[in-house]
């Protein structure tokens, strides 16, 4: 079992993601953006950072990195792909996920803890959470304001593809608890098939008690568990 963590020029969280997978009991390796094949990888993480400087629009240039054709094929074919923060932006630009991430409502970069409500526990990424569970972890972005046109948004909701929603400490989904202006407080979504996940907050920074939160670790243990089950099957 092997998780590929893509490193673009400007990726900053590739190490954090590898470490998260390892702490969850899996193994991971770095795949440089100029490679054209994912090799024998069983899952892909597109990490946070500023791929290609985030110039033009976050993710816009990274989407054309040589490795992305392989990532897109892999995701379209049902392979597990998760994008965190900048990775979420890349996946939207690449068309693996619908919508776009606009500038935060505050117009400022925001770096602080946030709470999210887990909306689905039946995805390969959230099996170790409970539906309705309130989890806390850092977020850190300038462009995290999730937008999709009304039809797309309605489809996301109707199909239950909103996986994480910003909420307050008690789990209430309110505008006050919405850090960046995302429609419907969306913090993370899945594609129709459920194999591609994108999320803005950083589970990779909430994997040890000494960091202040362990709430990100289940995302990685869920992923590692899903891969292990697939191997057995």
């Amino acid at each position: 079992m092997n998780v590929a963590v893509i490193t673009f020029p400007g990726s900053n969280c590739d190490q954090d993601c590898v470490r998260s997978v390892e702490l969850a009991g899996g193994s991971a390796r770095y795949v440089w953006h100029r490679e054209v094949s994912l090799g024998d990888s069983d899952a892909v993480i597109v990490p946070g950072g500023f791929a290609h400087g985030d110039y033009l629009r976050p993710g816009a240039i990274a989407r054309f990195s040589p490795i992305m054709d392989a990532v897109i094929d892999f995701g379209r074919g049902g392979g597990l792909v998760v994008g965190i923060c900048n990775g979420f932006q890349v996946l939207c630009e690449a068309g693996l996920l619908p919508g776009a991430l606009l500038r935060n409502r505050s117009l400022r970069f925001q770096s602080h803890d946030c709470f999210m409500r887990v909306e689905r526990s039946d995805t390969p990424y959230t099996g170790d959470y409970r539906v309705g569970q309130v989890i806390g972890m850092p977020l850190s972005h300038a462009d995290g304001n999730y937008y999709a046109d009304p039809d797309t948004l309605a489809a996301l909701e109707a199909e239950g593809r909103v996986v994480f929603r910003y909420c307050d400490a008690d789990g209430a989904v309110t505008q006050d608890a919405n850090p960046n202006g995302s429609l419907n407080n969306i913090a993370g979504i899945a594609n129709a098939r459920g194999n591609v996940l994108g999320m803005m907050p950083h589970p990779d920074r909430a994997i040890e008690a000494v960091l202040g939160s362990l709430d990100g670790l289940p995302l990685f243990t869920s992923l590692v568990g899903a891969l292990a089950r697939a191997e057995v099957a």
């Binding site: 020029p9 400007g10 500023f50 400087g53 400022r108 925001q110 770096s111 850190s140």
Partner: protein, 758 residues
């Protein structure tokens, strides 16, 4: 040594006249010395080179002699002043490189780019030592926030720091922000960086090995910031028009990130023998300093330097301060291997020359020699001066003013309390630090908001704590006491987290050294810093001097920013500033003396900067810090928070409220028996005090430890639990401050001003 073989004036260069020499900031005596060094007149290019290297910024002409007084040694110091950054041993085979730098003038002209490029420069200083940057801090001083221009500068600087550091992926773990009319025209923008490496990976900025190859790496050279180094050494004046204004340097954090990764890979590869940032004075300072440090020479051809614009002269190429460039000395024969690493990171690398045995800094343009200067006299021979100093009349009057008539708060104690807690100087800097990525790389153990930031050494349970401190009002009124206080406070902040203070870097921001009252401030500052560092055993491993922070003759407050490093051997013993559990017992360590001189209270309530600032008892300070460390190691403490700006009022408020996103905070009830006026007690900024709390069962142990270290320890109250209030009784008054009200004042102050006023 012979120079000048074939050096001839370049066609088109202006003739060397006394006026031109003067425009280059060189005195007639200095010019005569240049003629002696060369044995002839300099060419225009050489004049530019000397002017940059002998500027205040590179040559430290007016500060060097005094800086020699600072203590620089300790067994744990691996690299003291003189390199790109200082380095100390932080245990388990790790070394920490750290340094602070100013970018005041560029930030005054263009706050966003000025601050951004300041971060860029300090990161490069650290990663060229072979260390991976793991944290940044920033110390900012601005005028009062009610001025639109100040809000513009403040907003731009914070965004510039954030956008640059966030993109490179370095967490910000702390800093400070002050607002005072003393900085109205001249903001102080200092950036500090910490980098970690295995001790054996240390590399220095040297050009060793005759025949090795000089390579220019990274961004192309443009006409940006030509003579920035000289510019940084001149005052701004009202009439600065665009023509005379050097071009702004634009930062490219993405290229910086690539340069960072490529440099660390190059250093690890063993293909290179030296590397240095092309910072102030660009290719000139990096080339000549690397040669100077290793006693070799360098020869380079400017025609080989990749440029961004056509028609650049040797003068411009040598002095350009384009960002994100490095000078690398590659081992002969390894050039292709070097190029391969750089290509992977999509960076340009050009061979521009080689290391020679000549001892000179020799520059060609298409094979024609345009400069040939002995390297050591160029880098080390800058004349130094010790100018006379005397305290200014104005500050003397303020310092000795009788402030006793201002002890009464005009609208009552509660009003004064809320004003102090809601003053932008005391209020939470959340608006600032939430624009900085504080958690990237998942090693931030204590984020901004407490006494000092703490970063984990990856793969260990050790941490490095860091804090920047300088209360410019204190250093203005009494530079010596203020400087001692800055060192003491920085060390105390670090100690409050449970980390042992180890060493400092410093950034000395002053007005013109040509004025006697400024020289007095500078000298007194250095002496205060010397005493405090010696006593607290925190040597100085490097720093930066920024003079000429003046506009139209008005200088900033003397602002010696101290960047303190501490080491915590076991992260499980870390202590935080917030009160925790209901029933915990609160103590004051240290003594209340009620010193209101230079206090935030006088400024916020009486609009006054006056009085004698708090004195520092170094022996008591050292005992206090050792005591805190012993308590932390023994796991006696539930919280520790030092007393500084805003006095006990600020400290107690902060310990009750905790961080910005941790719910409602906890209440506390305290009582003071001191026979002091209420304002002096609550708002005095007396040094050497820490408010701590412990579980009821640990009271005796805590008291015993305090007695062991001879530290006054007064039981002042208890933590009263969630949702209540901070209640304070003194011998004459009782105050009840609802946490909601405190929250609104403390966290709402800066966002309120920045969001409403625009």
């Amino acid at each position: 040594m012979s120079t000048g073989n074939g050096v001839a004036p370049r066609p088109g260069d202006p003739p060397i006249t006394p006026e031109l020499v003067d425009e280059h900031g060189l005195s007639p005596d200095e010019f005569a010395q240049i003629q002696r060094i060369l044995g002839r007149d300099p060419t225009f290019t050489e004049l530019g080179v000397f002017s940059a290297m002998w500027s205040e910024h590179c040559g430290y002409k007016n500060s060097k002699r005094l800086l020699r007084l600072l203590p620089t040694q300790a067994p744990w110091v691996i690299q003291g002043p003189g390199e790109n950054a200082g380095v100390i041993d932080v245990g388990e085979g790790y070394a920490l490189a750290f340094k602070i730098e100013s970018h005041n003038h560029p930030s005054a002209v263009e706050p966003y780019q000025g601050a951004a490029t300041g971060i860029g420069g300090i990161l490069r200083d650290v990663f060229t030592m072979g260390a991976r940057p793991v944290a940044t801090l920033n110390s900012l001083h601005f005028g009062d926030l009610d001025r639109p221009r100040v809000r513009y500068l403040f907003g731009g600087v914070v965004k510039g720091i954030g956008d640059y550091g966030n993109c490179v992926g370095i967490p910000s773990t702390g800093g400070e922000v002050y607002f005072d009319r003393g900085y109205e025209e001249n903001p102080i923008v200092n950036a500090m960086c910490l980098g970690l490496m295995r001790t054996e990976d240390l590399i220095r900025g040297t050009a060793e090995g005759v025949g090795n190859t000089l390579m220019a790496v990274g961004a192309r050279t443009g006409r940006d910031g030509i003579h920035g180094a000289t510019f940084a050494s001149e005052e701004l004046s009202e009439g600065d028009d665009e023509a005379s204004r050097p071009q702004v340097q634009v930062g490219d954090p993405f290229t910086e990130k690539l340069l960072l990764e490529a440099s660390l890979e190059l250093i690890a590869s063993g293909h290179i023998v030296g590397i240095q940032d092309m910072g102030a004075a660009g290719l000139t300072s990096s080339g000549s300093e690397m040669a100077g440090r290793s006693g070799t020479g360098v020869e380079m051809d400017v025609a080989l330097v990749p440029v961004r614009e056509d028609g650049m002269t040797p003068y411009e190429i040598l002095l350009s301060e384009s960002q994100e460039r490095m000078l690398v000395v590659a081992a002969a024969g390894r050039e292709d291997a070097v190029r391969e690493i750089l290509e992977k990171w999509e960076l340009e690398a050009a061979t521009i020359g080689s290391v020679t045995a000549s001892g000179t800094f020799r520059v060609l343009e298409d094979g024609v020699v345009v400069a040939d200067i002995p390297a050591l006299p160029l880098t080390e021979g800058c004349p130094t001066y010790e100018r006379p100093g005397e305290e200014g009349d104005e500050v003397c009057a303020l310092r000795t003013m009788d402030i006793s008539s201002h002890v009464e708060p005009p609208a009552g104690l509660r009003d004064a309390f809320l004003r102090v807690v809601g003053s932008p100087n005391v209020a939470s800097k959340q608006w600032v630090y939430e624009q900085y990525d504080t958690t990237v790389r998942a090693n931030s153990i204590e984020r901004p908001g407490g006494d000092a930031g703490v970063i984990r050494i990856p793969g260990t349970n050790r941490g490095v704590a860091a804090s920047t401190d300088c209360n410019g009002r204190h250093t203005y009124l009494n530079p010596r006491a203020g400087a001692m206080g800055a060192v003491a406070e920085a060390a105390r902040n670090v100690a409050c987290t449970g980390a042992v203070p180890m060493a400092i870097t410093n950034c000395l921001n002053f007005g013109s050294p040509l004025k006697t009252h400024i020289m007095h401030q500078f000298r007194e500052t250095v002496l205060g810093m010397r005493d405090a560092c010696a006593y607290l055993e925190t040597p100085v491993t490097g720093g930066n001097v920024s003079f000429y922070n003046e506009t139209d003759g008005k200088a900033v407050y003397p602002t010696p920013v101290i960047g303190m490093i501490g080491v915590i051997g076991d992260l499980d013993t870390i202590v935080r500033h917030a009160f925790r559990d209901t029933g915990d017992v609160i103590f004051l360590l240290g003594t209340n003396t009620g010193e209101l001189g230079g206090s935030e209270y006088l400024y916020a309530v009486h609009d006054l900067v006056a009085g004698e600032p708090p004195g520092v008892d170094l022996a008591a300070e050292r005992a206090l810090q050792r005591c805190i460390l012993a308590m932390a190691a023994a796991r006696v403490l539930r919280s520790a928070h030092d007393v500084a700006s805003g006095g006990l009022a600020a400290t107690l408020t902060e310990s009750c409220l905790g961080g910005p996103r941790n719910g409602g905070g906890v209440g506390a009830a305290v009582r003071f028996e001191d026979a002091l006026p209420d304002t002096a007690l609550l708002f005095g900024e007396d040094q050497g005090r820490v408010v701590v709390s412990c579980a009821p069962g640990a009271v005796e142990q805590l008291q015993r430890l305090a007695a062991d270290y001879g530290v006054p320890c007064t039981r002042i109250g208890t933590v009263t639990g969630a949702g209540s209030a901070l209640r304070i009784e003194t011998v004459s008054s009782a105050l009840r401050l609802e946490l909601d009200v405190l929250r609104e004042r403390y966290f709402g102050a800066i966002p309120g001003i920045m969001n409403e006023a625009g």
